[in-house]
Symmetry: C2
Subunit: 527 residues, 2 copies
Amino acid sequence: MEILGKQFVDGKRLAASVTPFFSRDAATGETLPYEFFPATETEISAAATAAATAFRSYRATGLEERAVFLEAIAAELDASGDAFISIVMRESGLPEPRIRGERLRTSNQLRLFATVVRRGDFLGPRIDTALPDRQPLPRPDIRQYRIAVGPVAVFGAGNFPLAFSVAGGDTASALAAGCPVVVKAHSGHPVTSELVARAIVRAADRTGMPAGVFGMLFGDNSGAPLVKNPEIKSVAFTGSLRGGRALSEIAASRPEPIPVFAEMSSVNPVILLPGAVQERGNAIASTLAASVTLGAGQFCTNPGLIIGIAGEAFEQFCHQLAEEMKNRPPAIMLTRAILNNYQEGSARLAKIPGMEMLTGTSTAPDRAAARLFRAAPELLKDSNHPLEEEVFGPATVLVAVKNSDELLEVISVLNGQLTASLFAAGSDGAVCKPLMEALETRVGRVILNDVPTGVEVCDAMVHGGPFPATSDSRSTSVGTLAIDRFLRPVCFQGYPDHLLPEALQDANPLGLRRFVNGTWSEAPIDR
Amino acid sequence: MEILGKQFVDGKRLAASVTPFFSRDAATGETLPYEFFPATETEISAAATAAATAFRSYRATGLEERAVFLEAIAAELDASGDAFISIVMRESGLPEPRIRGERLRTSNQLRLFATVVRRGDFLGPRIDTALPDRQPLPRPDIRQYRIAVGPVAVFGAGNFPLAFSVAGGDTASALAAGCPVVVKAHSGHPVTSELVARAIVRAADRTGMPAGVFGMLFGDNSGAPLVKNPEIKSVAFTGSLRGGRALSEIAASRPEPIPVFAEMSSVNPVILLPGAVQERGNAIASTLAASVTLGAGQFCTNPGLIIGIAGEAFEQFCHQLAEEMKNRPPAIMLTRAILNNYQEGSARLAKIPGMEMLTGTSTAPDRAAARLFRAAPELLKDSNHPLEEEVFGPATVLVAVKNSDELLEVISVLNGQLTASLFAAGSDGAVCKPLMEALETRVGRVILNDVPTGVEVCDAMVHGGPFPATSDSRSTSVGTLAIDRFLRPVCFQGYPDHLLPEALQDANPLGLRRFVNGTWSEAPIDR
């Protein structure tokens, strides 16, 4: 497998720097024989300029043309062979079924955005036709639709080397919107990144897209200059709170500030009501143990905080969960850095006064042990939110509050989260409704009787939530609504039909549902 | 007319500070006998807390109930008497027809948002029903809608004492979304602000809204602490670039950063093609002179830059425009501070090398003379964008470029703007399309053969645009799409029907158009 380790810039491969970094085996930490050259300032700038040039033609591509491009990327991904699967496994430490599943999720996501593009609703057409006789003043003809914002910088995430990386949801939704993409490759899986980037480039070539529609840069220092580049108009990021805040600050201090859609930090609280614990505590313990340790806990939606109501049933549940977690084998993590962070984060949790570690003394130094903590309920009310600092990995914290009033009280002061889960039984009755209403204001997704891991890619998904879960609660990074991040409205006043974009022409040649004079309509306009 | 000059906090009037400021007559600068007490930190905090408390019940109001509240505010405004009109005129220096028209625009805007609320589309319902038999994994039932973000801080603007102030578009759209509002009253029209606030409070009382749904604070130092208050979740502002950037920085540096929708700075370029100038240069000159001087030029959409193509016809047009502007009488401005800024801004323009003032030597020190400048074309390419620094008032700058290629070139490097106007005739032919495409990427609204002043309040309006026109190009502050600023999506997974919000229940009790399993439908769901 020949890996060049150079940047992807305007259809060319460039690398002027001389000190490479290397891909590593996640399980052993050993260096793999693939070298990568961090992008130079010149290369970063060239990638952004190429994206800006490509934007002029790419944003004008027809809906069918753009959908075919997305499907071509999906097909290229699906066609990647066993050697591809092997190297992704090696770089990520994730097992084969997960990688095969994630590849399918990634290509299906691209196909889903192709259907969004073909449907065309994302163009958001709104039309108010002229009222020449209106008093005291006539109304001009005004027509609005949404256009792509411009080149988007996408930061590949470490924990989903395919679905949240080079050809992941951010790239798919940006390309669907009509925005060229420049990816900052995650250093945890550079070979994977290069191979996926090549798949995108082949798809772009095959479908006649401009070369600058996709670019990619290696090296951890390429992110900040990319976000500072004036040609970049939006940023999508999945990663740590610190990383997301740093990018937000850079973007805000540009001469032209730009939006940053950062998906950052969430402990995804799980609320257990007494009826549910009484009725099926053991089953919930098994489900939660599996969710906490799935993929070595390396999910944004990992359940990191479990809140129950004090009592015998909850104590029995805690005991059961501890047993379940003890039996989970220590797991390989994505990178050494992530493993180190997990060990440090666990140690930090363990040292909090009022915290006790129930399980998780590891004997394997290269692996992450599943860890279960028990916290004093006062910690939930601590204004520093010590229980809401995400420890990325297979760890979770148990805490019992006195009663449902105290539960409502602690929920109302929770930080923003991606998700909250509520386990309830019929016997838990009337408390569910106020709890759910309170949770709704704190999170992007509320789940009844299920764990938060497993994020469905669909129209209704919200993978977002108030800060610090994300930097912009009005968006989602999973599901078709993600395209909205990269669009802005523009309107045209007093245009003759032939100068309007197709989406807004009288005849409605794209067959869109349009909001015309206060009513939804697919009909042509008679003027 | 009894004016208390105290804050509006949770249905009470509070003022603990002792040093008042006074309302002033715009025309004379003289102090009027109405005193206002700047809000104290305690009062600011109390208003935000009251808004947060009110949020819990207000966000849950039914659509009809909320629409009736908006209509009640409109009715209160419409019922305000002649004394009200007089004091608004006195504080703003604006003429009676303008104030009466603006009042009607403001109440109609509230009524338009009532129809938006009743229609319910803003709830954005998206439903993916469960697929229990899907392989390899079942799909859970997931349902998304949009909820209000929380209390909104609204900064009243000086130039529209009614339509962009206490009960203006920002307040109307935030209340429509389900967000309580705390207004920072503009110090240029405090009596107007108090009277409008009282109208809102009466409407809230009459329709049974929680007292904290509306609050208002006096004093220019109340803005920053209001934006810093943790209960405030979004900010809407119309004003200067400096003011908007300052608020954006405060909001971004909060422990929980929040969005700021600031509408700031735009020179609204007007492009004149030779055919149009040849055909009807004199008429265009009259129209533009009227637009530049309308309301003493105190509009965000004032045309501050006129670009033509060099030649005899354009010179004749310039001559004509200068004649038209000479005949405009010097005008009263909103406040002394705004007048001073206008004089300073004009002087700054006049001093730019390559700039010449054609008309506008004023003889009335208390009035703003209409000023016409002519700039060397090189200034359009200056990377400091000297011609794009807004001079708020009745001034505009003429500049001629060589040909349509140069025109395209200068347009592509323009800063973001609220609007651009293109005057073209049939004989200008093929150049229109590329020009319009280039303008579309720089602005929120492109206007053909008309001036930018006059912003229609409708579904299709975009009063927004790339930075520095606004701080968030994905939004509009005029028109029904403005409600989107104050909503965020949330989804529910695995809910039984009775725990879902009405918008998402199977029976579709609100009769909404919903996106169900990839198709738009108003039908109930059979599960």
